[in-house]
C-alpha cells in the first residue's frame, strides 16, 4: 500500500534513501543538496537505517570514499550539486571505469562563475561524458521513483555503472509537492535485498586489484565495455520501469511524449520546466493548435533512435537547453538531438533555445513565445537565448 504525503524534492530523495538503506553514504554539504544528507544523517542516528555515514572534508573525498566503499561490494549513495559535483569530476570517470554502481542524488545548480546557487543544468551536463547514467526528474515524485529504480539499474550485471538521479535546484529540491510513497518492505523487495557484487575487495578467496596502470596495450579495450554497458542499460532501464509500473502503477520510459503523437510543433525539455510546458500545451490544444512535448528522462544513455522516431512526424521542434556548451552551436541536448536526426529521412525543422541559466525564471509566456516561433520556424535563427537581457 502506498500513502500520499507532502515532500520537497530533497525530502523525497532522503525518504527513498532511507528505504533503500545503503551500506555507506559519504557526503559533503552544499546548497541546495545539503538537506538530503542532513535528513539522512538523522535517519542514521535514529537507527532507522544500517548505513555507515562518512562526513568528509570535500566532495573529492566524498566521491573517493564512495569508490572505495563500492569496490568492497557495498551499496553506496551520495548527494551533491554544482561546485560539489565539479569537485567530483576527477573521480566520476573512475567510478564508471571500475564499474561501481554508486547512486547519486544530484541537485542541478549553476556553476561558478559568477557565483550562483540557483537551478540550471550546467553542472550535470558537464558530467555527461564520465560514464554515469543520468536520469532527470520533472518533480519530487519522479525523483523518488527514479532513485529506487536507479539502484536496480546500476547494480544490474548488464549495466554495472554509476547512476545519478537529478532534481532541479530549489524548484524541485525545496518545493513541497504531493507524492505517493510506497511501503518500506515493497522497496526492499523491489531492489532485491543486498547488493550482489561480482568482484569484491572483501572476498578473501578471490583477491582483486583495483585501479591499475593500463597503457597503449589494453586501455582502449578496457574502456570499451563502459560504452557497451551504457548501450545495454537502455533495455535494463525499460525493464525496471515496467516492473515498477506493474508494482506501483507509475509508468516511466527513456522519454515521455506529452500530446506528441499528432503534434505539429513540439518542444524538447528536461526537468521541472516540463511541468510548466504541459500547462501551456493544454492551453494551445484548447485553441486547436497541435502542440506537444518530448520530455527527456534519461540523458545518459542518450535515447537517440527512440527520440528520432518520436519526433519524425513533427513539423518543427524547439530543443530547450538549460545549459550552454559555449561551443557556439547550441546546448548539449540540442547537439545530441540534431545528430540523432541527421540520418532520419523524415525529420522536423529544429530550433534551439538556451534558457534559465543561473535560475532565470522560465514562465508560461516565455514558453508560449517558443511555440509561436515554431509556427514560423523557417524564419528563426538556429540557436537563440531565451529570457536574457540584450
Amino acid at each position: 500500500m502506498s500513502k500520499v504525503v507532502a515532500r520537497t524534492g530533497n525530502e523525497a530523495m532522503a525518504e527513498a534513501m532511507r528505504q533503500i538503506n545503503p551500506d555507506v553514504v559519504a557526503a559533503y554539504p552544499i546548497t541546495p543538496a545539503t538537506e538530503i544528507v542532513m535528513i539522512f544523517a538523522k535517519y542514521v542516528a535514529d537507527g532507522l537505517v544500517d548505513t555507515n555515514f562518512v562526513a568528509v572534508e570535500s566532495e573529492h573525498s566524498a566521491m573517493s570514499a564512495c569508490v572505495g566503499a563500492s569496490a568492497t561490494g557495498a551499496r553506496v549513495m551520495t548527494g551533491t550539486s554544482s561546485q560539489g559535483l565539479c569537485l567530483m569530476y576527477e573521480i566520476l570517470p573512475i567510478a564508471a571505469a571500475l564499474r561501481l554502481p554508486i547512486v547519486m542524488c544530484d541537485v542541478n545548480r549553476a556553476i561558478s562563475g559568477p557565483i550562483n546557487i540557483h537551478c540550471d543544468h550546467s553542472d550535470t551536463m558537464a558530467a555527461r561524458d564520465f560514464g554515469w547514467l543520468q536520469i532527470f526528474s520533472e518533480d519530487s515524485q519522479e525523483a523518488y521513483d527514479s532513485l529506487i529504480q536507479a539502484i536496480r539499474i546500476a547494480e544490474d550485471p548488464r549495466v554495472h555503472l554509476p547512476t545519478m538521479v537529478t532534481t532541479d535546484g530549489f524548484i524541485i529540491s525545496h518545493c513541497l509537492d504531493r507524492i505517493e510513497i510506497v511501503e518500506d518492505k515493497e522497496v526492499k523487495e523491489f531492489i532485491g535485498g543486498d547488493r550482489k557484487a561480482a568482484n569484491s575487495l572483501l572476498d578473501v578467496k578471490k583477491p582483486v586489484s583495483v585501479g591499475l596502470l593500463d597503457l597503449q596495450d589494453y586501455y582502449f579495450e578496457h574502456r570499451l565495455p563502459v560504452a557497451e554497458a551504457m548501450k545495454n542499460s537502455k533495455k535494463v532501464i525499460l525493464e525496471v520501469a515496467e516492473e515498477f509500473a506493474k508494482k506501483f502503477g507509475r509508468k516511466y520510459g527513456l522519454y515521455e511524449g506529452y500530446k506528441l503523437d499528432d503534434a505539429e510543433i513540439a518542444i524538447v525539455a528536461l526537468g521541472s520546466t516540463c511541468g510548466t510546458a504541459k500547462v501551456v500545451i493544454d492551453e494551445l490544444r484548447a485553441k486547436g493548435i497541435k502542440a506537444g512535448m518530448l520530455k527527456i528522462r534519461v540523458f545518459r544513455p542518450f535515447p537517440a533512435e527512440e527520440i528520432a522516431q518520436a519526433l519524425a512526424n513533427v513539423k518543427a521542434v524547439a530543443v530547450l537547453d538549460r545549459s550552454d556548451m559555449w561551443a557556439g552551436q547550441g546546448g548539449q541536448v540540442f547537439t545530441e538531438i540534431r545528430s540523432a536526426l541527421f540520418e532520419a529521412v523524415k525529420k522536423p525543422q529544429l530550433l534551439n533555445y538556451i534558457y534559465g541559466l543561473g535560475g532565470r525564471e522560465i514562465d508560461q509566456p516565455m514558453l508560449r513565445s517558443v511555440f509561436t516561433a515554431l509556427q514560423s520556424a523557417e524564419k528563426q535563427p538556429l540557436v537563440q537565448y531565451l529570457g536574457v537581457r540584450e
Binding site: Y28, P29, I30, T31, T34, V37, M38, A41, K42, V44, A45, F53, A55, E57, S58, Q83, S112, I115
Partner: protein
Amino acid sequence: MVKETAWCPGCGNFAILGALQKALAELEIAPQKLVIASGIGQAAKTPHYLPCNFFNGLHGRALPPATAIKAANPELTVIAESGDGDMYGEGGNHFIQTIRRNPDIINIVHNNMVYGLTKGQASPTSQYGMKTPIQVGGVFEEPFNPIVIAVALDAPFVARANAADIEQTKEIIKQAIRHPGYSLIDIFQPCISFNKINTFAWFKEHTYYLDAGYDPRDRQAALAKGLEIDRFPLGVIYRQENRESFNSHHKLTAPLFQSKPDPAKLAALIDSKL
C-alpha cells in the same frame, strides 16, 4: 559605511569587519592598493562590505589566487580571508602548501568552529562532542589545530584573536600586515545562529591574552602555547623573520604590468646558449 549585509544580526563577523576596517584605516592602506581574496562562506563575504578590490573565488580556494596576486603585483596588500571550513577543510592542503611557499600575504580565518553558510554542520575546528544535524552523535574527530600546524611549518607570523575584542584584534591585524611573509590570524568568531556552544561568553571564558613577558620568537614556547586548548592563548603566538618569501625567492619586486622586455638581456641569454 555598509548599511546592509547578509549576516545575522549579532554575528561575530561584524566585529571582525570593524577591526579590519580600523586596522586598514590606521595603516592608511588605500582601497586601490588592497586586494582581499576570499572563498565561499559567511566569512568569505567580508570583502563585499569593504571598499577594496576583491577576488571572490571558490570554497576552499582563496590562498592560491592570493599568492598569485601578490606575485603579479607586490605593491598590493593582499589578504586571504575565509572561514575555518573553507581554509582548513576544503582548502586544507592549500593552507599547508601556502605556509611552505611563504608568500607575503595575510591569512585571516574567521574561526566559528562550524559551517555557517550551509547551516550548521561540523567544521574541522569543531570541538569534540559537538552535535549537529550531520554529526548527530557528536563530533569524534580530533579538532584541527591551525596554530600548531603553522608554527610547525615555521610560518613567519602566527596569531590568534577573539572577534569580541575589536581593539586587540585590530592591533594584531596591523602587526600582521606589517610583518614580511605569510601571516596567519585565526580569529575566534561566534556564530550565534548555528553554534550554540562556542558563544561570545564561551570564547571569553576559554581564552586569555599572552602577557608582556611572552616571547613570540621562541618556537618551542609557541608550540606549547598552540597546544593549550583548555584556555586558548590570544595574541601573537609566533613570529620570525628568517624565511625567504615567495616573492624574494623569485625576485618579484615590481608589478608585472610595469615590466618591459629588455632586448639586451634577451640577446645575451640567446648568445649564452649558442
